[in-house]
Amino acid sequence: MLITTLVEDLGQDPEAVRPDTRLGELEVDSLALLELLTILEDEHHLQMPDDVGAFSNDPTLAEVADYLQSVQGSAAPLADAVKDGAV
């Protein structure tokens, strides 16, 4: 879902989008990140954090996916998720 959105909605090269690719390598800046999260929330009904600070350390796509998975159905603040090693 994450990779599909990056390719189909944000125009990323399918060859460049792999689990170990970092957001920075794809030039996904803060605006593109917000767009990505908005599409995932609106079209796939995923719960998204208000605070996107966890993405500031240039995570890989696998780490992004793990983190998004961790916050589904959880109201836990992002900071707690970071402390818990979810990112």
Partner: protein, 405 residues
């Protein structure tokens, strides 16, 4: 410091072509570009002059394209073309002294998409790019970002005079010494259901659905309104001493410019053309020229009943014998905030080629229009100077004067 301003680069995307050369070639055929527009199907006016061949993702890449509205994409591409034409290598130009002034109305598709989400009860689905991807200021903002210009970045809106207004402001920035180089132009996308439906309610648009190609007919007796278009043009302007120092190509000089306002009516021009005439005279004064010094007029010529008559009267008022006139909107339609910049660029090319493009669809001059309008075929003419007019809602006028190098 010299007051003389040189035009050293041109970039253009229109319904007639994806660059300045192809637009020039098509404009000289005198054949309109208007077509039935599937996106306007079902509206009272269902045709436009859309830049169908413009595919921004092929030029800008998909990762840049998705985040900005089409009018910003058009501005970016025109600016890149103009920069390349002017050979604006960054090592020869101080980025702190490069400005960007773009005419833009902000008639956005992105805000329309946001409204659809709101109406559907899905505010969470509004794109974060709605504001930065559609605000009028971002036409200049994204161009500055793209070329690394760190001087003043301005988007200006004087309706259909925006593109010319931008060029006039750029001239001021150069003559005041604020900038060494300014990229100035206009960009707009008027081919939307919102614009078509809204302008139609003003009775401003041609309803010639049965023959769109013949719908935009400036100064013609059977004109019935303008045709929505889209596009962008950017001119690279710099003080002539700066251009000469870096051995830049000089297409023309921007010898004069003036801005003014009718202060008469929100949408209608002064019937006697007095508002436009004031701006034309002011432009002549700024250039230190007399009416007899002007060899050609690139008219606003929107193809509306009121504007064309008012403009013809203005030209007759200023020029005892008006020089040959053309109106590019017959071919290109009316791209609103972009139109003045596109016509400025075409005026420069008219001087370069010493050839006036024909006005499309002009069969018989309308009553009261006593002008020598070039029609049917291009007219070769020795020209040293040419004047371009632009008039917008709000009575906002802009006039530019270019001279051959």
């Amino acid at each position: 410091m010299s007051d003389c301003v040189a035009v050293t680069g041109l970039g253009m995307v229109t319904a007639a072509g994806n660059d300045a050369a192809s637009t020039w070639e098509r404009v000289n055929t005198g054949v309109g570009t208007a077509r039935l527009d599937p996106q306007l199907e079902g509206l009272p006016v269902a045709f436009s002059c859309r830049a169908e061949a413009f595919e921004p993702a092929h030029i800008l890449g998909r990762t840049l394209t998705w985040r900005m509205d089409r009018f910003i994409q058009l501005a970016l591409v025109a600016a890149r073309q103009a920069s390349a034409d002017a050979r604006l290598e960054h090592d020869s130009v101080d980025p702190l002294r490069v400005g960007v002034v773009i005419g833009a109305s902000g008639s956005s598709g992105a805000s329309g998409a946001a409204w659809k989400k709101l109406i559907a009860g899905r505010p969470q689905g509004i794109s974060p790019t709605t504001i930065p991807g559609s605000s009028a200021n971002m036409a200049a903002g994204e161009v500055s970002l793209d070329i690394g210009a760190q001087g003043p970045g301005l988007s200006v809106n004087t309706a259909c005079a925006s593109g010319s207004t931008a060029v006039s402001i750029a001239r001021d920035l150069l003559r005041s010494g604020t900038c060494d180089v300014v990229l100035a132009g206009g960009s707009d996308t008027a081919c939307s259901t919102f614009m078509a439906a809204s302008f139609d309610k003003l009775r401003a648009l041609s309803r010639r659905n049965h023959s769109p190609e013949a719908a935009s007919r400036p100064f013609d007796a059977e004109r019935d309104g303008f045709v929505l278009g889209e596009g962008a043009a950017v001119l690279v302007l710099e003080r002539s001493e700066h251009a000469h120092a870096r051995r830049a190509p000089v297409h023309a000089y921007l010898a004069g410019a003036a801005l003014g306002c009718d202060a008469y009516h929100s949408t209608a021009p002064t019937p006697d053309g007095s508002g436009a005439a004031r701006s034309i005279r002011a432009a002549l004064a700024s250039a230190g020229m007399e009416p007899s010094d002007i060899d050609h007029v690139n008219a606003h010529g929107s193809s509306t009943t009121l504007n064309d008559l008012s403009e013809a009267r203005a030209l007759r008022t200023v020029f005892p014998t008006p020089p040959p006139v053309t109106a590019n909107k017959g071919v290109l339609g009316h791209s609103l905030a972009a139109a003045g910049a596109i016509e400025a660029a075409l005026t420069v090319m008219t001087l370069t080629h010493q050839q006036i493009p024909p006005t499309a669809n002009l069969g018989r001059l309308g009553d009261g229009i006593e002008l020598d309008v070039v029609t049917k075929a291009p007219r070769a003419l020795h020209m040293r100077s040419a004047l371009s007019t632009s008039f917008g809602f709000g009575g906002q006028n802009a006039v530019l004067i270019f001279t051959s190098p």
